[in-house]
Amino acid sequence: MLIEFGNEMNLELNFMAQGLAGTIAAQKIAGIVETAPSFASLLVHYDPDEISFKDLRQETTALIRSLGPSDDIMLDSRLFYLPTMYLDRWTRECVEDYCNKIKRKEPDPEFVARINGLADTNQLVRVHSGTEYWVAALGFWPGLPFMMALDPRCVITAPKYNPPRTWTPQGTVGMGGASTAIYPVATPGGYQIFARTPVPIWDTEKRFSVFHDSIVLFRAGDRVKFMPIGDEEFEFIEAKVKDGTYIYNVVEYQKFSVMDYKVWIATLDKDRRF
């Protein structure tokens, strides 16, 4: 069953979807196997031997009513600091390869800066790395986070590739619509790409303790802060990852209050970019 909260991409609708997912998990409703939140909807996987579609609809409708406005929602939210090299050579080469083999296009960083009215690619880096990102959903590929900028001064948008790329380097950071994603492994893709992180976001071998209870780094409701780094730092971290001594920079103790967030963004001048 798919529960749709609205017809647009905004944080409010995702807070509702994640709030409902949390409530369903806490209530342990018999017959609900699992839920998967997305930007503005929640997919519910149920066992019809245990709960009928009709009863499921009644139960979830009652839960949505009990949720109230999103202001009251408090979500567990870890914060990940993710070293990331912007305007890196790997994503640039990938775009050049696409231009040579599939279709000519303006280089992604220049294109995204231009259509969002930014002065240059340096400002794109300032704006894109100037906010925490909200993990709205995971999917498409195992562990791939779909994220939205929490600071309205950093919201930028970009159309997707048409046709899509046949490959994207592992760890690439890119944008499509108002969503930012990180490619966990080398896969095809359609987002505009302009950065790369050396830090693995999934680990099938569980080499790092942060993966002790899951092989994917993120959960819906986590936050990510990209930390711009240069070549030397990228190579330093890459070596640490390779020998298994990299330490993930995670803040574990935080909760995200939708109300506090709304109070904060009301104080901001959205027209002033970093």
């Binding site: 069953m1 798919l2 749709e4 017809n7 647009e8 991409m9 997912a21 196997v33 699992e34 839920t35 998967a36 939140p37 997305s38 930007f39 503005a40 909807s41 929640l42 997919l43 996987h45 019809p48 031997d49 009928s52 579609f53 959903a137 995971l138 999917g139 498409f140 590929w141 195992p142 562990g143 791939l144 779909f146 948008t157 159309p159 997707k160 048409n162 619509g177 108002a178 969503s179 492994v185 099938t204 899951s214 092989i215 994917v216 959960r219 819906a220």
Partner: protein, 322 residues
């Protein structure tokens, strides 16, 4: 232990219902595509219906048994032989140390299942032994069997000579036309009435560009309602684009104008609409359809689909074994 002499086209370890509970992280269930034949094969050799077994796609493997055991082959007819002699399907058979089971290409159906008493004993990964090829996890090293590999088998006490009641077998389409149940939604309101009529009237051809992640269908163009054409820009530029949403397994996903049925290893979310969903009770038909065969869709209600599922679950029990 079982030694792989020839791997076949794509033979892989699967269990039922597969890797459940990780959809929110993007992991599909995997598992056997024809879970009806799969469960019967396990029952025949005395295993729980969900025990790990081998799924063989289009062309089956050649295997040598390093221990005497009891096996059963169900599903597509790949003309199996044991030491060169025809091997009976839909029944449990004792095999001796050194016996060689050889399978050819599927004459009827697309996927055959080999169950072994005690089940395949590869290490479970996220709670399941199912192979998820695309991410290289589960099964043996995350991929289909390779020549020379040795497969570990658990201990079982299967009995030879057990058969599936003929009326308990899934009926494969002899004329290569499959009548597949579909339930409307979740995004049926994006398709106009002509579009719905056309979908249900069309004989869709299963494309050769199909695998365990998606079954592509060749057929006519789709037409849309205003929801698809007059929408906020964040949905995307194509009429079938929608803000990324969760995909149910079995969703008929409209990528541009091409419908793709998202099957066992499909993506958990994405930015295209799903006007129809194939209910789990009809997944076995998809598992047995070959490229170039025809799929016709028959709209049923959620209740009808679930009644059908109960019926198949009741068949996949000891009551069907004689």
């Amino acid at each position: 232990m079982i030694e792989v002499i020839k791997p076949g086209l794509e033979t892989a370890v699967q269990d039922y219902p597969g890797r459940i509970g990780y959809w929110a992280q993007g992991f599909p269930p995997s598992g056997p595509m024809d879970d009806w034949s799969f469960r019967l094969a396990n029952l025949l050799v005395g295993n729980p219906v969900g025990a790990a077994a081998l799924e063989c796609q289009f062309v089956g493997p050649t295997l040598r048994f390093r221990t005497a055991t009891v096996i059963a082959v169900c599903g597509a007819d790949m003309k199996p032989t044991l030491d060169g002699k025809p091997f009976p399907m839909w029944q449990s058979v004792a095999v001796n140390l050194g016996d060689v089971l050889a399978m050819s290409f599927a004459v009827v159906g697309a996927r055959a299942y080999i169950a072994v008493a005690g089940g395949i004993d590869t290490p479970p990964w996220l709670g399941s032994r199912s192979t998820f090829h695309k991410a290289g996890v589960g099964g043996i090293g995350g991929h289909a069997l390779k020549a020379g590999q040795v497969i570990a088998v658990g201990t079982g006490n299967g009995l030879a000579g057990r058969r599936v009641r003929p009326d308990a077998r899934p009926a494969f389409a002899a004329d290569k036309k499959w009548n597949v149940e579909v339930v409307r939604g979740p995004n049926d309101d994006w398709i106009d009435e002509d579009g719905h009529q056309r979908f249900l009237m069309t004989e869709w051809k299963l494309s050769s560009k199909s695998d365990r992640t998606g079954f592509r269908l060749d057929g006519p163009q789709w037409t849309f309602t205003a929801m698809a054409t007059e929408k906020a820009p964040e949905h995307g530029s194509e009429p079938s684009n929608i803000i990324d949403q969760g995909y149910p397994v079995g969703a008929i996903n409209l990528a541009g104008q091409t419908p793709i049925i998202l099957v066992n290893d499909g993506p958990s979310m994405g930015g295209f609409i799903n006007p129809y969903t194939v209910p789990s009770a009809a997944f076995w038909k998809l598992g047995q359809a070959k490229p170039a065969e025809v799929l016709r869709f028959n709209a049923v209600s959620v209740e009808e689909a679930q009644t059908l599922r109960h019926k198949i679950d009741a068949i996949c029990t000891e009551s069907s074994i004689i």
